[in-house]
Structures are given as structure tokens and as C-alpha cells.
């Protein structure tokens, strides 16, 4: 084997280790201290982790984040799948429509959020007030549907046309055809989309900064936002690092759990 291969990967390994692995390890270390992010700090064992579970702010952030993420994931996938099915039917202007539906994916969420912030405050102020979490869902779904449509379209293209024809000749209505022919065949794409959407939505940050900044009160404070504000501005560097590690474990567990369930469904 040529020695060149080692030289090709060495710099990447070193840089990745320094800028990714080291921060992860540092995070684990700081989570066991009382560091405010500067100056001296002492080792406190698992105290931060114990306190996390007694902290209402943390609990509320997790509740909001999950509520938002679950609702947004379901809505995004239902809408995206419906539009993708429509786009792959016998319609005119398919390319143009597909192009329009994909636009939100190329726009910065933060700026989209500011635009919706203005729209909401002028036309539906309740989406920045009492029902602010729904406002966040609206913007998140508006943006995420774009990407998921494209994946579902790819899935739908893998279905041979004669399968449709066969089902039609058997007299299956369009809902039946979707349920028993189309959906089972694109189930793997459904799994991928559900897992990726949920994982992305659990990390929601930009939308909230632009729409509510976590408010009113702390009603829309997501876990990411709490890590950011508490860690950088609240002098809770070590504490929020512990929160981040718990959050990481939660996201991995949720993704694995979801994969298991959805893959079992696929096989039915």
C-alpha cells in the first residue's frame, strides 16, 4: 500500500480531533466542574447533573422542545408527502412547481423568521403571544417541507409505473392505491425523513431567536437556546455543558428508538 494514503488522512484526523473530539471531551470535563466559563473552577462531581433534574427551567425547555419537535415533524412529513404525491401525478408545470416548493430550503432561517415575525405581529399577534409555540411550528414547517418534498419525490420515482396501472386495473381507488402500493414502497424514505426531521427540530435555535427570543416569558425557550443564553450570558457555563451532554444522549436515544419502531413498521 502506498504511504501517500496515510498523508492524505493525517491532517484531517488531527484537525478533526482538535476541533471536534477535544471539545466533546472538554465538555465532559467542564460538566463536572463549577466553571462560569472563565477564571478558576473546582471539581464538583455529578452535582450539575443532579441539579439539572431539579431545575424547572430545564424541564420546561425539554417539554417545549419535544412538543414543538413532535408536532413539527408530523406536520412536515404529512404535508411534504401529500405535495410530493401531487407533484408526481399527471400535472402540468411540474418542474416550475417543484422549483417553487424548494425555495424555502435555500433561504436563511433567521431572516425568514424575521419576515414571519413581522407578518405575525401585524396579522396574527397571538402567534407571538399565547400561541407562540405554534408560530415557531409554522415557520419551521414552512422551511422544512421544502427539503422533505424532494426526498419523497425521489422515493416516488422508484415506483414502477406498471404497479400503479396494475392497482388501477384491479379497481383500487386513489387512497387505496396510496395506502397499499405507494406508501409501503416509500417507507424507507419515510423513516429517513421522520428521523432527520425530529433530530433537526430538537435542535431548534434560529427560528426562536428571530420570532420570540424564547418568550413570552420562557414559553418558547428551547434546549439549544437555553444552553446558549445560560452558557454564554448567564454564568452557567459548566451547568449548561452538563445540560448539553444530557441533551446529546437524549437525541441519540430518541433517534435509535424512532429507527427501531419505524423499521419494524417497514417490514409489516
Amino acid at each position: 500500500m502506498s504511504r501517500a494514503f496515510y498523508w492524505m488522512v493525517l491532517p484531517a484526523f488531527v484537525l478533526f480531533f482538535v476541533f471536534h473530539t477535544v471539545p466533546v471531551l472538554q465538555g465532559v470535563y467542564y460538566s463536572l466542574t463549577d466553571s462560569p466559563g472563565y477564571g478558576e473552577h473546582a471539581f464538583v462531581g455529578l452535582r450539575n447533573y443532579v441539579n439539572l433534574f431539579k431545575d424547572d427551567r430545564i424541564l420546561d425547555a425539554y417539554l417545549f422542545t419535544f412538543q414543538f419537535a413532535v408536532v413539527a415533524t408530523i406536520l412536515t412529513n404529512v404535508i411534504a408527502l401529500a405535495i410530493a404525491v401531487g407533484l408526481s401525478a399527471r400535472i402540468r408545470f411540474r418542474t416550475a412547481l417543484r422549483g417553487i416548493f424548494f425555495i424555502p430550503n435555500v433561504l436563511a432561517i433567521l431572516i425568514v423568521g424575521y419576515i414571519f415575525n413581522y407578518l405575525f405581529s401585524n396579522y396574527v399577534p397571538v402567534l407571538l403571544g399565547e400561541l407562540a409555540w405554534i408560530g415557531v411550528v409554522v415557520v419551521a414547517v414552512w422551511q422544512a417541507v421544502a427539503f422533505n418534498i424532494i426526498i419523497y419525490l425521489a422515493g416516488l420515482q422508484t415506483i414502477p409505473e406498471d404497479l400503479h396501472e396494475a392497482a388501477r386495473i384491479d379497481g383500487a381507488g386513489s387512497w387505496r392505491r396510496f395506502r397499499s402500493v405507494v406508501f409501503p414502497l416509500i417507507a424507507p424514505f419515510f423513516t429517513v425523513n421522520m428521523v432527520l426531521s425530529l433530530k433537526n427540530f430538537l435542535q431548534v435555535f434560529d427560528h426562536i431567536v428571530a420570532l420570540t427570543n424564547g418568550g413570552p416569558g420562557t414559553a418558547t425557550t428551547s434546549v439549544s437556546l437555553l444552553i446558549y443564553t445560560g452558557g454564554f450570558q448567564g454564568g452557567e457555563y459548566a451547568y449548561q455543558t452538563a445540560n448539553a451532554i444530557v441533551y446529546f444522549v437524549v437525541i441519540v436515544l430518541v433517534s435509535i428508538f424512532q429507527l427501531r419502531i419505524l423499521q419494524r413498521r417497514e417490514q409489516l
Partner: protein
């Protein structure tokens, strides 16, 4: 049998308004004077106020921010294409060796680590190393991109027959030459995908520049910083948003098919 379903076409066109109306609203609002912001807000401007753009341009330092964004994005894309493909090549051609296989899983497993986990330590690290600037940000995009790009490239490179390389080797080409002369050109479709994904990520990103950059500002960052100053002057704010969105929208209009197929190739692999 190719009967067009006009009813469905109409329905989808109506759905597409949910995308188009907010964009249309952004454009007309950016062109109005504040006293025209009455009623539904959807009316065309009675008199176009170009000065919104001039005001936003000056207030936010648009040319500087746009240049910063462009510099970071273009550098991140170019460096990512040149380096990540090379690393993936070495891994793909040695997957049977434990070291390289381990490296593959090492990079790809980072996909499961959400950014907020490493955010706080990374900020410390970059400021300590003097990387709290554009150069540092570019480096982070290239390094963090490895996780997904290695995954994409390795899958693609393994589908390229080794016999192509062997022919070049017989002619006396070394491993580096083989990569740049034979493999890299064959990666064009995957390079397009990685390039587009990196472009969209670096151009639209908010959190990483927010925490890493100490002075320089990207386009999304500028909107955030000036949000409090826009507060009452919505038309100027919208002119600023529109100018921030315009470059990528214009690129998209011209390269739409290419962008969609590029993103698609990345996601179907993924």
C-alpha cells in the same frame, strides 16, 4: 393516457402560494414608504421608495457583510471539495484495513453529535488560538463538514472501478497523481452535491458565526445585530432582509434544476 389532471395542478399551484406570498410580501414591503403599510399589506407600492435600500445598505454596512459572507462561503466550499474528497479517497480505497475503517466510523459518528454539545468549548478554543475570525470559521466548516462529506464521497468512490486507477499506475503515476488526474475529475457529480450543501450551510448559518466571530459579521448576523435598530422602520428592515436573501435567490433561479438534483443526490445516498 397522458390526461393532465388540471384540478390537482390548480390545487398545487394554490399550495405554492404559501411559499410565494411571504416572498412577494417581502419584496413589496421593501419598496414602500412606512405610510403605505396599511390594509392587507399585499397591495403594490403606490410609489416606490428606493431609498429603503440605500438606508439599509449604509446602516448595516451591507457591502462589507456581503463580502464577508461570500469570502467565507466560497473558501469553505473550495477547501471542502479539495480536502474532503482526498480524505475520502484514502479511506475508500483502504476500507479493508482496520485503521481506515475505524477512521471512517470516527468521522461519520460525529453526525450524531449536535452542535450545542461542543459549542461552549469550541468558542473558548477558537478565541484562545486566535481563530475567532473568518479564517477560523472557514476551517470549522471544512473540518465539521468531514462527517457527512466522507460518508457521501466514500460511497461514491467505492462505486468507481479500481481498474481505472491501475491503468494510470502502470503508466507510472503515483497515488497523488492518480487522485488528482483520474479520481477527482470523476467525482464531479458528487462534488456538485457537496459544493451545494456546503454553500447553503455556510451562507445561511447563524449559530456558528454568532458564537465564533468576534468582529466580522456575515449577512444573517448583521440582520440579528441591527434588529433592534430596525425596530420601527419596517420598510428599511425588509429592504435589508431582501438584500440578504437576494444573492442566493438569484443563484437559485438560474441553477434551480442543478441545485435540486445536487441536494437530491446527497439525500438519497444519505
Amino acid at each position: 393516457m397522458t390526461r393532465v389532471n388540471w384540478w390537482l395542478t390548480g390545487l398545487l399551484a394554490a399550495c405554492s402560494l404559501t411559499v410565494l406570498v411571504p416572498l412577494y410580501f417581502t419584496v413589496v414591503t421593501a419598496l414602500k414608504s412606512p405610510d403605505q403599510l396599511t390594509g392587507s399589506g399585499l397591495a403594490l407600492p403606490s410609489e416606490i421608495r428606493w431609498s429603503n435600500f440605500a438606508t439599509a445598505w449604509e446602516l448595516t454596512g451591507y457591502p462589507r457583510a456581503a463580502l464577508t459572507s461570500a469570502l467565507i462561503t466560497v473558501s469553505a466550499v473550495l477547501l471542502t471539495l479539495l480536502t474532503n474528497s482526498l480524505v475520502a479517497y484514502a479511506i475508500a480505497r483502504n476500507m479493508e484495513r482496520r485503521l481506515f475503517k475505524g477512521l471512517y466510523y470516527y468521522f461519520v459518528s460525529a453526525l450524531f453529535v449536535p452542535f450545542p454539545i461542543i459549542m461552549l468549548p469550541v468558542v473558548k478554543q477558537t478565541s484562545m488560538l486566535g481563530l475567532d475570525n473568518q479564517a477560523g470559521l472557514i476551517l470549522l466548516y471544512v473540518v465539521y463538514g468531514l462527517a457527512f462529506n466522507i460518508f457521501l464521497y466514500v460511497g461514491y468512490i467505492r462505486s468507481i472501478p479500481v481498474s481505472l486507477e491501475e491503468a494510470a499506475r502502470v503508466d507510472g503515476a503515483g497515488t497523488w497523481t492518480v487522485f488528482w488526474r483520474v479520481i477527482f475529475p470523476l467525482l464531479a457529480p458528487m462534488n456538485a452535491t457537496v459544493g451545494i450543501l456546503t454553500f447553503l450551510w455556510a451562507w445561511n448559518d447563524f449559530l456558528l458565526p454568532l458564537v465564533v466571530l468576534s468582529e466580522a459579521q456575515t449577512l444573517p448576523l448583521v440582520q440579528y445585530v441591527f434588529q433592534s435598530q430596525f425596530n420601527t422602520d419596517y420598510t428599511v428592515a425588509f429592504a435589508s432582509y431582501l438584500m440578504a436573501l437576494a444573492p442566493v435567490l438569484i443563484v437559485y433561479v438560474f441553477a434551480q434544476r442543478w441545485v435540486i438534483s445536487g441536494v437530491l443526490r446527497g439525500s438519497v445516498k444519505g
